[in-house]
């Protein structure tokens, strides 16, 4: 459905060049929920703009719905739904007016495609007369999604839809995306939150304009292939220092209320002994996507 081959893009910045995308390639299959996971500045938005025909890549070929993003941009613009990272609806129009407007410019009506958006729109309906600028963050995202969906697109591009949205709304949002996928819509979504990777069918981890790894969340976790320990002590700072200086430790980094530790050889007892901290609490844990990301990044 989406095919990206060797795409590169640089921006001029002062006299120098900043490489936003560096030889990126991946495929998204029809009906897949594909996640681009990476921190701010990884190049996610540039990639979205190239795929939605808003930017031209310096190198490489990309197709969406079998149409070339450069030559057949008009076809793509009719067939995709795009939700930019920044809230981009008309703040001085009401919920209803925004939705109607976006339906009409795609030559359709809200009534015609009501089924498509019904599930999300019922939550917005009580506020349909309210100006979009006066909605809460979660509501704004839902309205933006409705507007991107109202013309029954084949492919949906969602650029960081959950950034700046509260935890409850984020979970709701992902549930909605699951249902869209069930309707056969291909979804490409980007997010800086590693834990959201698990909700995608497949993900690509992006950093500094490069893809570090692609696969299903399970494949990525299996590929991690190292034992990982969670450590805790009264003084977390002192513990981290001690871990980093220890010769047995390959990598140590803060992770929630623990520090995650990867050893060079599986000699946990030696480590505990050499640290000599009476209040040390350490146990084996299972890696998650963030561990994969950190380990990929350090190589």
């Amino acid at each position: 459905m989406i095919s990206v081959q060797h795409i590169s893009k640089s921006y001029r910045q002062g006299k120098g060049q900043v490489k936003a995308l560096d030889n990126i390639s991946f495929e998204v299959l029809k009906g897949e929920l594909f996640g681009l996971i990476g921190p701010d500045g990884a190049g996610k938005t540039s990639l979205f703009r190239i795929l939605t025909t808003l930017l031209l890549a310096d190198q490489g070929i990309a197709t969406v719905d079998d149409a070339d993003v450069v030559k057949e941009y008009r076809h793509i613009r009719q067939r995709v739904g795009y939700m930019p990272g920044r809230f981009s609806l008309y703040q001085d129009l009401s919920v209803e007016e925004n939705l109607q407007f976006f339906a009409t410019i795609f030559n359709t009506t809200v009534a015609e495609n009501y089924e498509q958006i019904k599930e999300i729109y019922v939550q917005l309906e009580p506020f349909k007369k309210r100006l979009a600028g006066k909605l809460s963050g979660g509501m704004k995202q839902k309205l933006a999604l409705c507007c991107a969906l109202v013309h029954r697109p084949d492919v949906l591009f969602l650029d960081e839809p959950t950034t700046g949205v509260d935890a409850v709304s984020r979970i709701e949002f992902w549930d909605i995306l699951k249902r869209l996928k069930a309707d056969g819509i291909t979804v490409l979504v980007s997010t800086p939150y590693m834990e959201e990777a698990a909700k995608c069918d497949r993900v690509a981890l992006v950093q500094g304009g490069k893809i570090l790894s692609t696969g299903t969340p399970d494949e990525l976790l299996k590929g991690f292939g190292q034992k990982i320990y969670a450590a805790k002590a009264a003084s977390m700072l002192a513990l981290l220092e001690a871990l980093k200086q220890n010769a047995l430790v390959k990598d140590a980094y803060p992770f929630g209320e623990y520090h995650h530790v990867i050893l060079k050889e599986d000699r946990l007892d030696d480590l505990v002994h050499s640290l000599g901290m009476p209040d040390l609490e350490i146990m084996e844990t299972s890696p998650d996507i963030e561990d994969c990301f950190i380990s990929l990044m350090s190589h």
Partner: protein
């Protein structure tokens, strides 16, 4: 067709919901007409003057009576010495002074010639020369009054007739000027800003990723400005006819048609600006320097083009407002028809087509 209509409707929503801006856009012509009509006038009326009558005879009295009676002058004070005169000028209390020397009547009666002195404050040269002209005219009038029954050896009488504007009202000049200025400001600025605002707020991104074509977006953006401009033309014309007593002597439909043509030219310029900039501030700055200042300076409304150095005269030719200003003056004040203004109309039309084509060509189908 439906997408265009929906888009135009959306534009009107933006316009009508931004009450402050709407008030400025609709109120601006009214305020400008009032300011130009009642405050910023260069007509000379009731100027304060001083007189120094050293003669105090019948002739000098009656001359001063005539001066006093004219609507141009108010005798602020009578003085008896040059030093008093000087200090009145210095304090800015008077703009002109009349000095009638001793033996005014005697000189006239016996030597058939007498002199009076007119002293004007020439720190504003235009006002000074207007005032002295009026004063000389009154003196000439007075002279012909007293020589009525005497035969002078040789006289040539100049008979003046002020065509199209017999009362020499400034309004005949500034109404067309204000029309040009307001239309330009509303159309260029408003159009440029509404397009750039979509870029700034990110909505342009979504509009581009839709089946909408660039020219559709431009058309939809232009129509509300066009409607607003027509409302503004109507309010200016109503004010000028009913408040300032400046009639529309020519054909009203022709005047409106020309206004629409000028509006479209300004719209095209606004669209061109919006296609080349990404922020509202830049758009505003370019509209003001690129359109407002030339309109003010080079349209012939504030400063006569004939008096400008040759290069500036050439530059004034590319200012659309210059041609529109001439058309409005000719149609509205002189009452001429299209046969007299076809050349200006053609030039405006050409500018419109050129600017529109450039704007459509420059409109980006992508973000960068």
């Amino acid at each position: 067709m439906r997408p265009i209509i929906a888009f135009i409707k959306k534009e009107f929503h933006h316009l009508l919901r931004d009450r402050q801006t709407l008030l400025i856009l609709l109120g601006m012509p009214i305020v400008q007409i009032i300011i130009f009509g009642f405050a910023l006038t260069n007509e000379v009326k009731n100027s304060r003057i001083a007189v120094m009558d050293l003669s105090k005879d019948v002739y000098s009295r009656s001359l001063l009576d005539q001066v006093e009676a004219s609507r141009y002058f108010d005798i602020e004070r009578e003085v008896n010495s040059y030093s008093e005169l000087e200090s009145a000028f210095r304090k800015g209390k008077i703009r002109m002074a009349l000095v009638i020397p001793v033996n005014f009547e005697k000189d006239l009666e016996h030597q058939h010639r007498a002199a009076i002195q007119v002293i004007a404050d020439a720190s504003d040269p235009n006002v000074a020369s207007t005032l002295t002209n009026y004063a000389s005219a009154i003196v000439r009038d007075f002279q012909s009054g007293i020589t009525d029954n005497k035969i002078l050896p040789l006289t040539i009488q100049t008979e003046l007739r002020m065509m199209y504007n017999p009362q020499l009202k400034g309004a005949y000049n500034f109404v067309p000027g204000v029309m040009a200025m307001v239309l330009m400001l509303v159309c260029t600025l408003m159009t440029a800003i509404t397009v750039v605002r979509e870029k700034e707020r990110g909505t342009m991104e979504i509009l581009l990723v839709s089946p909408m074509r660039p020219y559709t977006i431009m058309l939809a953006k232009a129509i509300p400005s066009l409607v607003l401009s027509i409302v503004n033309v109507a309010s200016i014309l109503l004010l000028s006819v009913f408040v300032l007593d400046v009639p529309v002597n020519g054909s009203l439909p022709l005047l409106l048609m020309e206004s629409v043509l000028f509006t479209l030219t300004c719209l095209a310029f606004g669209l061109l600006i919006s296609a080349s900039t990404d922020s509202q501030q830049t758009a505003m700055f370019i509209s003001l320097t690129g359109m407002f200042l030339p309109t003010l300076m080079l349209s012939g409304f504030m400063f006569p083009i004939e008096n400008m150095p040759f290069p500036l005269q050439m530059v004034s030719n590319i200012v659309p407002a210059k041609w529109y200003y001439q058309v409005v003056k000719n149609v509205m004040i002189k009452g001429v028809g299209l046969e007299e203004v076809w050349k200006e109309t053609l030039i405006l039309g050409g500018m419109m087509v050129l600017l529109m084509a450039l704007a459509i060509k420059k409109f980006k189908i992508r973000l960068a």
